[in-house]
């Protein structure tokens, strides 16, 4: 084998790739991080909420200097039906105190900062460079081809962190062709509003933010959710659904988000908000059953490329970081034995399966399949919850008993009594 330029080449400067590169450099390995964007973060996107754990584990006290938006002190879940919304909210004081639970972030800013930390740790960060191919020799991955003249690089091992649009993994056969039933498409708008207006409208202090997850007919019968996060002086508002559902229902994502903005619960919150950016991204929703190939001769796969997303809890960046860290630790061990073969990297599997990443995905292994097979069911229940609340809260000539009967009647009318019981049982099995 020819001389290597690096011990390890990491492809993609998102949370998974930057974490892997950072941990490797801290262990004195010669690492390069290649990113196709104009700068690290420029093509990166999420809702988005960044969790303190595991970020703190990699970059202790990161919140003291990282470009974060607001600590999330309140989580809301909205069950929506056209003009009605039933809201649940949980606020906790400790979420607004060190070490915090989570933050709203804008990834173009956060990932840029993270990559600077990676650079300071001694990693050779190469932006503006698209990897066009993985290079194999004698059955093992040994380097990359890039779109720069003379831009081919060699390394003892590769870490593939190219994100949710995994062209290289697809080309190399490290993941199966993406199934439109198991990938979501999400669109989002960044709406500018003065900081004080956000504080007033969302009933939060200067350094406090809220996260809203929206369920119900806002996705127009598709399996999906909406979201709203408060940033410093912007709001992230978005909606996403399974790609196969967009196809089936002939729905245009940019029209879907515009209709969401017309929802009576949203209108007053975003009034006078000026759109500063529109964005779109895929989200792998295959869960436990959709996890791709973890490693091969001379390569490890991490983050979204592997499909590490927990859609039930809206987690992905945290799982990406944990996988990046575990991949890096595997490489450090392999470097000691100078064995980057498949068997030399095999401990990555054990590490990942022992971590909360796979344990959490395993817990919800049947969730997507359930929602997939029962497309409109969740929608049905969300709508029912919202209209039931309306029924109970409307003061009119009907007695409470009549109202209660009507609610139950509506439930059985929409789904059938036996099915309701079956649904409840199935949901209990998924979440137990």
């Amino acid at each position: 084998m020819a001389r290597e330029d690096f011990d390890c080449i990491v492809i993609g400067a998102g949370p998974a790739g930057s974490t892997a590169a950072y941990v490797l450099a801290k262990n004195n390995l010669k690492v390069c991080l290649v990113e196709k964007g104009d700068f690290p973060g420029s093509k990166n996107l999420m809702g988005g909420v960044l969790y303190s754990y595991p970020t703190c584990d990699i970059l202790p006290d990161f919140y003291k200097e990282a470009p974060l938006e607001r600590p999330i002190v309140e989580k809301q879940i909205w069950m929506m039906k056209s003009s009605s919304t039933l809201k649940f909210a949980f606020r906790d004081k400790s979420f607004g105190q060190e070490p915090y639970n989570s933050f709203s972030v804008l990834r173009a800013k956060f990932d840029k900062w993270f990559a600077e930390k990676v650079d300071e740790a001694g990693v050779f960060v190469i932006p503006k460079t698209t990897v066009t191919d993985l290079v194999k020799e004698g059955g093992a991955y040994v380097g990359i081809k890039t779109d720069r003249p003379d831009g081919d690089l060699k390394a003892k091992v590769l870490v593939l962190a190219e994100g949710a649009n995994p062209l290289l993994a697809l080309k190399a056969g490290l993941c199966s062709p993406l199934d439109p039933k198991k990938v979501a498409l999400s669109v989002k708008q960044i709406l500018f509003l003065p900081e004080e207006k956000i504080n007033e409208r969302f009933n939060v202090g200067k350094e406090e933010g809220i996260a809203v997850e929206m369920l119900g007919d806002i996705t127009e019968g598709m399996v999906g959710t909406g979201f709203l996060y408060t940033n410093k002086n912007t709001i992230s508002l978005g909606v996403g659904a399974i790609i196969a559902d967009f196809v089936k229902q002939r729905i245009k994502p940019y029209e879907l988000i515009e209709r969401l903005k017309e929802n009576p619960s949203i209108i007053p919150l975003i009034k006078d908000g000026v759109v500063r950016e529109y964005a779109a991204h895929m989200i792998p929703e295959g869960g436990y059953n959709g996890i791709g190939q973890l490693y091969d001769e001379g390569i490890l796969v991490v983050g979204d490329t592997l499909g590490l997303v927990n859609p039930i809890h809206g987690e992905g960046s945290n799982l990406a970081m944990i996988s990046g860290k575990l991949a890096a630790e595997t490489v450090v061990e392999a470097a000691k034995k100078n064995d980057f073969s498949k068997s030399g990297l095999a401990s990555y599997r054990q590490k990942l399966y022992d971590s909360l990443v796979i344990k959490d995905l395993h817990k919800y292994k049947d969730a997507l399949g359930y929602f997939e097979d029962n497309q409109s069911i969740m929608d049905n229940y969300m709508s029912w919850a919202a209209s039931s609340a309306k029924e109970i809260l409307s003061v009119n000539g009907q007695t409470k008993k009549e109202k209660q009967k009507k609610i139950i009647r509506n439930l059985y009318a929409s789904r059938g009594r036996a099915k309701v019981i079956k649904d409840a049982f199935k949901l209990w099995r998924i979440f137990k």
């Binding site: 964007g37 990166n44 990834r107 196969a244 759109v275």
Partner: protein, 95 residues
């Protein structure tokens, strides 16, 4: 807000090279007619337009947000999709 105004907020530095190609226009024209050509409505930036006049898909790759939904949605695996060359393409300010 209409899509063109929305896209006006996104900073995209188009690659001089076309990074998206239709493999076989006849597939879009004939076979995919029944499915209403999903790329034309699934793409969040409306990169794909079916021209009735020319009877083919027009690819406005300069608008691409690089999410990749088009090739996942394509029923005939008929889109040759690559990333634009390094440093070009979409560049989010907020993300």
């Amino acid at each position: 807000m209409n899509l063109d105004d929305l896209l006006f907020t996104v900073s995209v530095k188009p690659d001089e090279e076309v990074h998206i190609k239709i493999k076989d226009q006849a597939v879009c024209r004939d076979k995919c007619k029944e499915q209403d050509r999903p790329c034309t409505f699934v793409c969040p930036a409306r990169v794909y337009l079916f021209s009735e006049e020319e009877q083919k898909i027009i690819v406005c790759y300069e608008r691409c947000l690089e999410d990749g939904a088009c090739y996942v949605a394509c029923p005939y695996d008929n889109i040759d999709w690559r990333f634009p060359r390094g440093g070009s393409g979409v560049s989010y300010k907020f993300g």
